[in-house]
């Protein structure tokens, strides 16, 4: 079972009634798997803050509830997180937060444990699929026992690895009866002051109890070397030093002080083996215990057994890798984003970018996207540029943002442009899905996570309703139209929105009735068709072009690039 599937299973068995999430690698499959359990209501919310608040409301109403997100999603949800820490729970409340050491699909490498410490929220961390299922159940029990939200921290390697899992039955939990309790649930200064005192006590009590929790365990072995470790890093320790003594932590915040002291005293040399930040190490050192951590293990990237082996035994793999050309991710054949970026490149326009497949417009051969910070940032950064450099500065700029990202946090930024008299142009790349995470529905697709038809928010009218007069819809694959409309809108002295519409090429049910076929005798070998960087096209030795028919989706972009009609569209 995939780690993320095991988390969903565990939540089901724990009696969860409500789950909310926004898709984000490596957490997306948790919600997708929850749809297999009809007893659980689950939804895609427009962003992680909303998801977190939905889960908080469900907990207040007495049900076991959860929200899941990637690490940067917790930043969006951190506002409710910091305060629900004070409020605590009625029904158990768990946030599953997936870190991404090694940045497989993220914009930074932040460590969720740091945020959890700041928010004074306990963190539980499993090390394989079985524990993922077991620990989330324990997390719900702890949440109710200590009146606290709990974060379950996972990593890419845990969520996207599969292992054997023993299934158990679901245990139903009646919703706790609702009682009005403003002192607990309304966080105004007077009430919050009291709750802060409670939060400090709660954490202290939990730290004391943690030494006897079964999820924190000492595995006695050779006393020469001891490891304090948790999560997937534990598996690397077992692989490389199966004989060593290990303190395996399941609860990584707050730490079991007594247990750590006892373990440290029992071994000659103590290593702290944890991915990302030295969260455990710094606290262990603060206990006055000598240990080795980030001075020999990196804070960057993903750990591995070989990396540990090198530090402990000084051995390295004999065979060195070949020096080969890199293969970075690219836009797919038939991707509508490629067409929009080709038009921007033609018009020599810079793009303030955002988070999604379309961030790939930053690299060769398109090189159109100049900036990318976080979800929703494209529109607001463009606005900031205009305020700094004036209308002149952004005369050859647009913001580009996907449909799902626009609804996530782009809407507020667009409101801000209208309110604060901006004149910039926003391109909404509407491919009718949340693309990069693997095609999840959102508020404008007309379908819920549980597969039910629902009202699809109309992005065109949403923009219009903000008072933007110039909202234009364009077919993403029509180069001529794209160039014309974007040129006009960028020149306009008012906020404008261009909705570039065409579904993602990988979206289920997509039909591709055409293929693009080269006509070599007409080819002038100019290479214009190659410029958009479609992976289906390659230049042959004689300078003409071949198109891989298994890859081509017949979008016709290369055909529109050719001035000599040397590429034809044929029906298949």
């Amino acid at each position: 079972m995939l780690g993320n599937a095991a988390i969903a299973r565990g939540a089901y068995e724990a009696g969860v009634k409500v789950s909310a999430a926004y898709p984000g690698t490596p957490s997306t499959e948790i919600s997708e798997n929850l749809t297999n359990y009809k007893e659980v209501y689950c939804e895609w919310s427009p962003n992680e803050k909303v998801a977190c608040e939905v889960a908080i409301g469900a907990s207040m109403a007495g049900a076991r509830s959860m929200a899941s997100m990637k690490h940067v999603g917790l930043n969006v949800a951190s506002d409710p997180l910091y305060t629900v820490s004070y409020i605590g729970v009625s029904g158990g409340l768990v946030l599953v937060v997936a870190d991404d050491p090694g940045l497989y699909s993220s914009q930074n490498e932040q460590d969720t444990r740091m945020i959890a410490r700041a928010a004074m929220v306990p963190v539980i961390e499993p090390s394989d699929s079985q524990e993922a299922k077991d620990f989330i159940k324990i997390a719900f029990d702890l949440s109710e026992e200590y009146d606290t939200p709990i974060i379950m921290r996972t990593t890419t390697r845990l969520g996207h690895s599969q292992g054997l899992v023993t299934l158990e039955d679901r245990v139903e939990h009646e919703n706790k009866p609702y009682e009005r309790n403003a002192a607990k649930n309304v966080m105004m200064p007077g009430m919050a002051k009291q709750r802060h005192i409670y939060v400090e006590k709660r954490l202290k009590k939990m730290a004391e109890d943690a030494s006897s929790m079964s999820i924190n365990r000492i595995e006695e072995g050779d006393k020469k070397i001891g490891f304090i470790t948790s999560g997937i890093a534990y598996q690397y320790v077992k692989e490389v030093c199966p004989e060593a003594s290990v303190l395996k932590l399941g609860l990584v915040h707050p730490l079991p002080t007594e247990l750590i002291k006892k373990f440290a005293a029992s071994v000659e040399k103590l290593y702290i083996f944890e991915e990302l930040e030295p969260v455990i190490e710094e606290q262990v050192k603060a206990m006055g215990i000598e240990c080795i951590g980030k001075d020999v293990f990196t804070v960057q990237g993903e750990y591995s057994a070989n990396m540990l082996r090198k530090v402990i035994y000084g051995t390295e793999p004999e065979v060195k890798p070949y020096d080969v050309p890199a293969r970075p991710p690219i836009l797919c054949p038939g991707c509508p984003h490629r067409s929009v970026y080709t038009a921007l490149k033609y018009l020599k326009i810079h793009a303030a970018g955002d988070i999604g497949c379309y961030t790939l417009g930053a690299v060769a051969p398109l090189n159109v996207v100049d900036t990318a910070v976080c979800m929703g940032s494209s529109i607001s950064t463009l606005h900031g540029m205009e305020k700094a450099g004036g209308r002149e500065f952004i005369k050859d700029w647009v913001a580009v943002i996907g449909d799902s990202t626009f609804l996530h946090t782009g809407v507020n930024s667009l409101m801000n442009m209208v309110y604060n008299k901006a004149t910039g142009t926003v391109l909404i790349l509407d491919n009718s899905t949340t693309g990069m995470t693997g095609h999840q529905d959102h508020a404008a697709t007309g379908k819920t996570l549980m597969g039910e038809p629902t009202y699809a928010i109309d992005i065109y009218n949403l923009c219009k309703s903000m008072g933007i007069d110039n909202v234009v819809e364009v077919d993403s694959f029509n180069q001529e139209e794209l160039r014309k409309v974007i040129k006009e809108e960028v020149a306009r002295d008012a906020v404008s929105v261009v909705i570039c519409k065409a579904p993602c090429a990988l979206l289920k049910g997509q039909k591709f009735p055409y293929k693009c076929v080269p006509v070599p005798e007409k080819c002038k070998k100019c290479g214009a068709c190659l410029r958009p960087g479609c992976p289906a096209l390659t230049r042959k030795e004689d300078g003409t072009v071949s198109i891989d028919m298994t890859m081509c989706n017949g979008c016709g972009l290369c055909m529109q690039m050719c001035a000599f009609n040397a590429i034809e569209k044929v029906t298949v």
Partner: protein, 189 residues
């Protein structure tokens, strides 16, 4: 039993996830402890992707380390070269003889290496197949990955019938026939 290590490498979108599901399935049905690790998200968009499969009596870490793979299945030549150092000295490399240019090659910033299979054959036990052409002959270009899997299956200790059973249980119902045929094509190549 000592833990066995299999890797599948290729270009995002080539179907490594389906192949690894079949691999995981057969090891489970044989009663082994199995761990499997794969790549989702951005790298799936035409990037270099790798899936690790480990099975044995008790498996700890889910990833295969350099110098430890018993079988390396590569769906593309350059990817075979990128990951070949993961093979054990006596490991087996199964490679689909296909070239997909990465963007640095397309833009002219890098050269696609010449004679990859010939060079790797000097150091390793290499079996190659042009599975793309074979799959096209069968009328469905997408099943090339199952042909390659069939070829790799000869170097693992499971019977043909066990494989076919797992394929039947794993692939979408409409594609059972063509996938089974593709497997047999590779297995008997």
């Amino acid at each position: 039993m000592e833990t066995k290590n299999i890797m599948i490498v290729g270009v995002g979108g080539q179907g490594t996830l389906l192949t690894s599901r079949i691999l995981g399935g057969i090891m489970l049905s044989a009663g082994y402890d199995v761990k499997l690790s794969e790549v989702h998200g951005m790298a799936q968009r035409g990037g270099s992707v790798v899936t690790y499969v480990r099975y044995g009596d008790k498996v700890a870490e889910p990833i295969v380390e350099e110098g430890c793979a018993d079988v390396l299945i590569a769906f593309e030549r350059l990817e075979a070269m990128r990951y070949v150092q993961f093979l054990k000295k006596d490991g087996v490399l199964i490679v689909n003889d296909q070239r997909i240019d990465p963007m640095p090659v397309v833009t002219g910033a890098a050269q696609y290496p010449e004679n990859i299979i010939e060079n790797l054959s000097k150091q390793y036990k290499v079996y190659s197949i042009d599975a793309q052409s074979e799959a096209l002959k069968m009328g469905n270009a997408r099943v090339f990955n199952i042909i390659v899997l069939g070829m790799a299956a000869k170097h693992m200790n499971f019977s043909k019938d066990e494989w076919l059973k797992v394929i039947e249980e794993t692939v979408p119902p409409k594609t059972i026939y063509i996938n089974k045929a593709a497997f047999i094509k590779g297995f008997e190549f």
